[in-house]
């Protein structure tokens, strides 16, 4: 039972990260119908921004200011910086292709992803970097029941990711910007005719989605410690599938999909085999995408002719 709960917590932690990245995918896909392969790499950039903010405050072992302020700065700067990067990528790479055939932006997205990965490789090298979280956040704080340990970092990741998702949900359903985003997602031309600033709305969507990915990157650094330049590719792949599993374009769907994939992965690692985790997860995801492409919470979309 302890092992079960422990794996569940691991799954929820990983799932929270998948869900945050999946939200960005889902939002961007919603407004542009673009599979943004570079999204996973924005997550990687976020992890690096967080790392350098941490170093700037004196490094994990000799922090100059209290830990909560450092964490806040890491999240804010990573979120803001990566959000701005996302907006720049949209302006530069995707906007000229908005009316091009579907295949063109997809290949551009591959190119952007490759460019980001290798720029980071050029600047910071291929070696792993270590957040060394345990040096400034004690892992002994947290919930301990018998042999079950849920440390404070994992609690923070799960709580923060759920809070961000609720905030995003409120933003999309209650605010003016959210209404514009939904309008652009359902019909861009009609939205433009109704006086909605489509360019601004798309930029805002990219900012929000990329910021979430950046924050997820910092969280990944805090939980798993190690960050490297190629960390974004696989998580991008899985997060997109999480968005599809939940039903693309749906925010609760992306959350559900992210948590489901995280938990499934944790249980496969814990109970079946850690060598074959990725292989089994890939198999399940391929099967799911073939059998139910509309996702769990998505609606079957009729193709307009």
């Amino acid at each position: 039972m302890t092992k079960f709960t422990q794996e569940l917590v691991n799954g929820l932690t990983q799932g929270g990260l998948y869900a945050l990245v999946a939200l960005g995918y889902s939002m961007v896909y919603g407004v542009l119908k673009l599979l943004n392969f570079a999204h996973g790499d924005l997550y990687m950039v976020g992890a690096f921004v967080g790392y350098f903010v941490l170093q700037w405050f004196g490094g994990p072992t000799a922090l100059a200011v209290p830990v909560p302020i450092v964490l806040l700065a890491m999240f804010l700067l990573a979120g803001g910086g990566v959000g701005a990067l996302g907006v720049a990528i949209e302006r530069f790479a995707y906007r000229p292709l908005r009316d091009a055939p579907r295949i063109a932006p997809l290949i551009t997205a591959l190119g952007v992803s490759f460019l980001l990965e290798n720029t980071m490789l050029l600047l910071f090298g291929a070696s792993y970097r270590d957040y060394n979280t345990s040096a400034f956040i004690s892992f002994s704080t947290g919930i301990h029941i018998g042999a079950l340990n849920i440390d404070i970092v994992r609690i923070m990741v799960i709580v923060l990711s759920v809070a961000l998702m609720i905030g995003l949900r409120l933003l999309v359903s209650r605010t003016q910007l959210g209404r514009q985003m939904r309008a652009v997602a359902s019909d861009r031309e009609a939205a433009e005719m109704l006086g909605i600033n489509v360019d601004y709305t798309i930029s805002a969507t990219f900012f929000l989605g990329s910021a979430l990915a950046g924050i997820a990157g910092v969280m990944a650094g805090l939980v798993f410690n190690q960050i490297y330049t190629l960390m974004g590719f696989i998580i991008g792949l899985k997060a997109f599938t999480a968005a599809v599993v939940g039903g693309i374009g749906s925010i609760p769907g992306a959350m559900l999909g992210g948590f489901l994939i995280g938990i499934a992965e944790a249980f496969i690692t814990g109970y079946v085999s850690s060598t074959y985790t990725n292989l089994i997860v890939f198999g399940i995801l391929i099967a799911f995408m073939i059998l139910r492409p509309s996702g769990l919470l998505g609606r079957v979309q009729l193709q307009k002719v």
Binding site: A100, L106, F114, N118, L237, F282, I290
Partner: protein, 477 residues
């Protein structure tokens, strides 16, 4: 028997397809005349001429071993781009797991020509037996991977096939290490052999690959002009309309996957035989991007475009980028040509080039006046540029990185600002590009190569989505 009018399409060619092929735009002026004259030459004579040139280069002129290896890599990439063109270019199915078929071919050949299976003797089948077997296996695998295309289109198909490609790398890394070798790969494969002939020299492999490329082109050309080729294009343009015209859409898509897979697997077998070893990392995403870059640059949908793009990308990235001197020629050459082509009128080109040169000397003089160590470094390629024009500090890494980031920002800014300012901004951009190149990029060819691949994809898609030789089709609304 009814007499057909002269200008109607020949029997068996569907009229809409025939017209859409006619509806190309010719270039203006004399270039259009050259284009029309070249189009008078038939397809088969062109193939014969290209083959003759291909044989002429290694046999008569002679290549050293490095050049031959570059040629082999280029031919491999050309064959792969040709195969990818079937599913991506003709049938319009975005297959991101394509490199796995290449890996399947290489691993298939490796298992059938080494001591890996059936110990102690292993299996050592002759090539004329093992290669067709592997190709048939790949075709069946292609059909299986293509099955999702029955239900999924566009992005969903792309991601499922990408999963397949990743799964292949995971599979070869983790499953049955005693048989597949795990991350260490499989060693000591037989070279191509059979019927008392054994190919061991690089030139031999070059000619084998050239032969296979020509045969594939011939077969694909016949396919292209056949009922199947027309069906592929019809499905690409509009699956619904195609199915209304009784094209069996699903079967046609599966055939595209199968043919692409067969060609990729064929390239894989030769790759394995030539390298005499296979590793999982040979078949990972970077190589997929390389194949895509070749196809996109050449022009998806055009066979000669795919071959040309594959050759070009491979020769430039593998051949010239290795040595700093040659890569610098390519770097500055490409910049100059782009300026001449894209900037009008010529006075503006002269202004930009002259401005950049002057700007460089001024900047260099200013920096040198403050600190001599800031201009002390050299990339080793053209010491004259480094010593008098581009700024290369004694410790160039950090400076080069800053220049590179500044270059990215400037390029983004360049796209955003309007007319006159763009010309002004071009001068510092070019100078920063030169500094980044001399200080950092030319020193790390492996990373630069990947950076350029990403840049090629973005630039070609934004500037000329049809590629170099792709037909510019007029959209039919």
């Amino acid at each position: 028997m009814a007499v057909e009018p002269r200008d109607s399409p020949s029997v068996g060619v569907d009229e809409w397809v025939a017209r859409s092929l006619e509806r190309r735009e010719y270039l203006p002026g004399w270039r259009g005349d050259v284009q029309r004259a070249l189009e008078q030459v038939g397809w088969w004579p062109r193939l014969v001429v290209a083959t003759a040139v291909g044989v002429f280069i290694p046999v008569v002129i002679g290549l050293n071993s490095f050049q031959t290896q570059v040629g082999i890599d280029a031919l491999l990439l050309a064959i792969l781009a040709l195969g990818l063109n079937v599913s991506v270019g003709w049938a319009g199915l975005l297959d991101l797991g394509y490199v796995a078929f290449y890996g399947f071919g290489a691993y298939g050949y490796a298992l059938l020509s080494s001591n890996q299976l059936n110990p102690p003797g292993g299996i050592h089948w002759p090539a004329y037996f093992s290669i067709p077997l592997v190709m048939i296996g790949a075709a069946i695998l292609g059909l299986l991977v293509g099955l999702p295309s029955r239900r999924l289109i566009g992005d969903y198909l792309a991601i499922v096939t990408l999963f397949f490609g990743e799964a292949f790398v995971e599979f070869t890394n983790n499953v049955a290490p005693s048989k597949l070798g795990g991350p260490n790969g499989i060693f000591a494969l037989d070279p191509l052999h059979g019927a008392h002939v054994q190919i061991t020299t690089p030139t031999g492999y070059f000619l084998v690959l050239l032969g296979l490329l020509v045969v594939s082109m011939a077969v694909l050309h016949m396919l292209d002009t056949s009922r199947m080729g027309r069906a592929w294009r019809a499905v690409r343009e509009d699956p619904l309309a195609a199915s209304a015209m009784t094209v069996p859409v699903n079967r046609v898509k599966l055939m595209a996957f199968a043919f692409g897979a067969m060609i990729a697997a064929m390239a894989g077998t030769i790759f394995a035989a030539q390298q005499t070893s296979v590793f999982p990392t040979d078949f990972d995403t970077p190589y997929l991007i390389l194949i895509y870059a070749g196809l996109i640059l050449g022009g998806a949908g055009s066979m000669s475009g795919a071959v040309l793009g594959g050759l070009l990308v491979s020769i430039v990235l593998d051949g010239f980028l290795r040595s700093p001197t040659q890569s610098s020629y390519i770097f500055y050459g490409v910049i100059l040509v782009t300026l001449c082509v894209k900037l009008r009128p010529w006075t503006r080109v002269a202004f930009v080039v002259g401005g950049t040169i002057v700007f460089g000397f001024v900047m260099h003089a200013i920096v040198a006046a403050f600190s001599s160590s800031a201009v002390a470094g050299t990339s080793g390629a053209h010491s004259w540029i480094d010593l008098h024009w581009a700024i290369v500090p004694a410790n160039p890494v950090t400076f080069g990185n800053i220049c590179f980031v500044a270059l990215l920002c400037l390029v983004v800014a360049l796209v955003q600002v309007p007319g006159r300012w763009r010309t002004m901004l071009l001068i510092p951009t070019l100078y920063v590009a030169a500094c980044a190149w001399e200080a950092r990029l030319s020193q790390v060819p492996a990373t630069t190569r990947l950076l350029l691949l990403g840049a090629i994809l973005i630039v070609v898609m934004a500037w000329r989505p049809s590629g170099l030789l792709g037909a510019r089709r007029v959209e039919i609304v």
